[in-house]
């Protein structure tokens, strides 16, 4: 007897009522019971919509027109109530704060059972079981404000496992996690998959991080269609990633730079499986072929931090921080959530007060300056552009800071137009902001800070949740600002690709202490810093170790310098 699949789409098309074109076109996809599937694709490719069709949010919460058929665990989701579907499929959403509805970890875990009228003593028993499974036993009573991002996600996972569902769906599970936590999350998902034999569907665009553990198949989506559905090794060896704007694993890029042709036979999908030994010589030859050429930052200090200590009531958030940033640098501040990164930037901008030690702008103590006064030296760009935008039109949004400073209309027009040109926004002059994409909104918020002509820009997670194309767009734009205008750029980030590709130097914070202030390539190859900073070694480090390069940093530097020369040639 043929086993019925966990999920089966056939000739499935879906169009949201609000939109003129279908978001999913002619989908044919079968996911068998017990399989572990990765669905990838750039933003707007329809991968999240596909997920919402599987878990029943479509058509129950988001209305639209469905053609073709879809069966989940043998049943049509449209014909069931969403609460009945939740017995067979559990979804872990990207927004861990939105999913965490309980006032404490344990209440959120049992949420589904409470809705199902399970009596209280039984709730306690099941909560204890699940907490054990997802490793939350020690924080059961904690409030959502008291747990880390990784623990929030585990809570979400616990909250769906408590129902003993057959299918687990993860929508961008890595989006809000630091590298080390993301790695652990993939391990936990894999362990649960192995032990329980549940069907696992992961929607994500950070391929290399998902492929930390095995998957059975990768499904690639583009503009609402499935363009490929193949075994991981075949997918990595193909040119599909390049064609559809998805970032391939870094070690694959390195092998390609070294002139190696990637074939499925090399088992290239996982760092742990790829055959490096037979290509050792080629890599070494490439490594030695060129001098490493990375320019040093020079210039005067623009921002200095001396003996900076800060505490909320009695808890110390920052302990004796010292560093100096030169004019025109572009650097990263990294570390896990709660390590003190955002407190540090808030102190620099004057959002928080009451620290000891000094913050120096061009050698002058900024201690007594107000928030608005500091903003003319250091501009702060929030992670979510929607947190900053107040105007209807782009021009007004960018002009706001100047208007509030009482500058004349003529000068405002001149400065805003100049800034819009720099930011590539001039063709949107007359557009309402609501018509812009996320990335374009980000540009508008950067422009609205840039127009005040600060010397330093601090950006909080500028690329969080962005696909490769938007990531590249935002980062290349920042790089241009840095190079052309000489603006110092400080990036607060979790993204190790970003650190490697765009910042020469990184400052690592851990539990309020500065534990490293050195080359980014150094940070990503130093096991000790990686562990304390909740980072992950870059896969290039593993290659270096594997082929016996004594100092892994130098292979990373070679990689960075090669990329830089490629960019120069372009």
């Amino acid at each position: 007897m043929k086993q019925e699949p966990a999920v089966g789409f056939s000739d499935f098309t879906f169009k949201y009522f609000a939109q003129s074109k279908p978001t999913l076109k002619n989908i044919n996809l079968t996911i068998n019971k017990g399989e572990k599937i990765l669905i990838i694709g750039p933003s707007g490719s329809g991968k999240s919509t596909l997920g919402n069709c599987i878990n029943g949010l479509i058509p129950h919460s988001y209305k639209g027109k469905i053609e073709g058929s879809l069966l989940v665990a043998g049943k049509n989701p449209s014909a069931l109530k969403i609460s009945d579907l939740s017995k067979s499929i559990g979804t872990v959403l990207q927004d861990t704060d939105g999913q965490f509805v309980g006032l404490s970890v344990v209440e959120d875990i049992v949420f589904a059972l409470e809705n199902d009228l399970v009596p209280t003593p039984e709730l306690k028993r099941r909560a204890a079981e699940v907490a054990e499974l997802v490793g939350l036993g020690s924080v059961l009573k904690n409030s959502p404000q008291e747990v880390s991002g990784g623990q929030k996600q585990r809570t979400s996972l616990g909250g769906v496992l408590v129902d003993d569902v057959d299918i687990l769906l993860f929508d961008e599970p890595l989006a809000n996690l630091d590298p080390a936590t993301g790695k652990k999350a993939m391990e936990l998902i894999d362990d649960i998959h192995r032990k329980s034999g549940k069907t696992v569907i992961i929607i994500e665009h950070r391929i290399e991080d998902v492929l930390h553990r095995d998957v059975d198949r990768i499904v690639l989506m583009h503009e609402g269609e499935i363009v490929a559905d193949m075994a991981p090794h075949d997918m990595i060896a193909s040119d599909l990633f390049f064609r559809f704007g998805i970032r391939e694993p870094l070690y694959v890029t390195l092998l390609k730079y070294a002139g190696i042709n990637i074939t499925p036979e090399m088992n290239p999908a996982y760092m742990s499986s790829i055959d490096i030994d037979s290509h050792k010589e080629e890599i070494l030859r490439w490594y030695r072929a060129e001098e490493i050429d990375l320019p040093e930052a020079k210039g005067d200090e623009t921002l200095g931090v001396k003996n900076l200590t800060f505490a909320y009531t009695s808890r110390k958030i920052l302990k004796d921080i010292n560093f100096s940033i030169k004019k025109g640098e572009m650097l990263a501040i990294v570390g896990r959530n709660g390590a003190g990164k955002s407190t540090l930037s808030k102190l620099i901008c004057g959002f928080e007060k009451g620290h000891s030690g000094e913050i120096l702008f061009n050698g002058e103590n900024a201690g007594s300056r107000s928030i608005a006064e500091r903003a003319t030296v250091v501009g702060y760009v929030m992670q979510n552009p929607n947190h900053m935008i107040t105007e209807h039109r782009i021009f007004d949004e960018i002009a706001l800071g100047l208007r509030l400073r009482g500058i004349g209309d003529e000068e405002i027009a001149e400065r805003v137009e100049k800034t819009m040109r720099i930011c590539g926004l001039e063709r949107f002059m007359k557009w309402p902001i609501s018509a812009l994409s996320y990335g374009q909104k980000k540009r508008v918020t950067i422009a609205s800070i840039l127009v005040l002509e600060p010397e330093i820009l601090i950006l909080d997670e500028p690329t969080a949740g962005q696909d490769y194309r938007h990531y590249t767009e935002i980062m290349e734009f920042l790089k241009e600002l840095n190079r052309e205008l000489g603006i110092t750029i400080i990036l607060i980030t979790h993204d190790m690709h970003l650190m490697m590709e765009y910042t020469k130097r990184s400052i690592v914070l851990s539990e309020g202490e500065l534990i490293a202030d050195t080359d980014s390539s150094d940070v990503l190859t130093n096991v000790d810093i990686v562990e304390k900073g909740s980072l992950k070694e870059t896969s290039i480090y593993h290659i270096a170790r594997h082929i016996g390069i004594e100092n892994p940093k130098s292979l990373v530097d070679r990689f960075i310098s090669h990329e830089a020369s490629l960019r120069r040639d372009k």
Partner: protein, 276 residues
Amino acid sequence: MKKLFNYNEADSFVHNLCGVSKLIGFLAMTFTVMLTFDVRVIGVVMVLAVLTFRVSGIKLRDLKVVLYYISFFVTLNFIMTFIFDPGYGVRLYGTEHVLFAITERYTMTEEQLFYQLTKISKYAATIPFGLLFFLTTHPSEFAASMNRIGLHYKVAYTVSLTLRYLPDIYSEYQIISKAQQARGLEMSKKQKLGKRIKEYFKMIFPLIMSSLDRINNISDAMDLRGFAKHNKRTWYHTRKLSRDDIMVIIFTVTIFAGSVAVTIFINHGRFWNPFI
């Protein structure tokens, strides 16, 4: 705002009571004091309040700020009442014993003083139970308790969700307002009113829009886990009523019933009139 109400876990008779019995007790005492204008009844409640505070182990100095606010408000109300209607006590109690006169209109009588002091004692007697309830009950128990005394579970869960997202929205408000201040917005009295209103609007508009963004995610997450599947739900944070709980419920409800009895049979009204 990280910890709501500064709730602290502690081991006392009051802390160990179920949320629902504390809620009933709090409501019974509140209604008792709202109903009556008899200082003798209010006095009983006040003595109970002091005793309960003692038992709970909460220190008065932890409540300094709250007490300061309250005394300010009570004083203001005392003065305003006298300014607006200095003869109210005389009309209420039907006699006039003059204490001293400032002007002809502003004459302080025993009746006015007694009325105003009764009113102060009313405030003073209700506030401690509100404080006690919020200081000794885990926020998680609120919703379950409200549902248990008969409020619809959806209303109870709304309160629980409000408490869940309040700290998040508060910290979001802070960072947004700081980032807007960096652009030059001010929340001060310096500007003209029209401009001031515009600036306040720009300060809170992004907060409202981002709060709206949350709604879909949260309601999806709840639907996906079967919220509102049945016409009721169970709660992790409920306990069986202990002997203490039942005693507290009986005791406080009896006091309320007693004050109703005093009102109907002894005072023949809500006021106790010592002047006749």
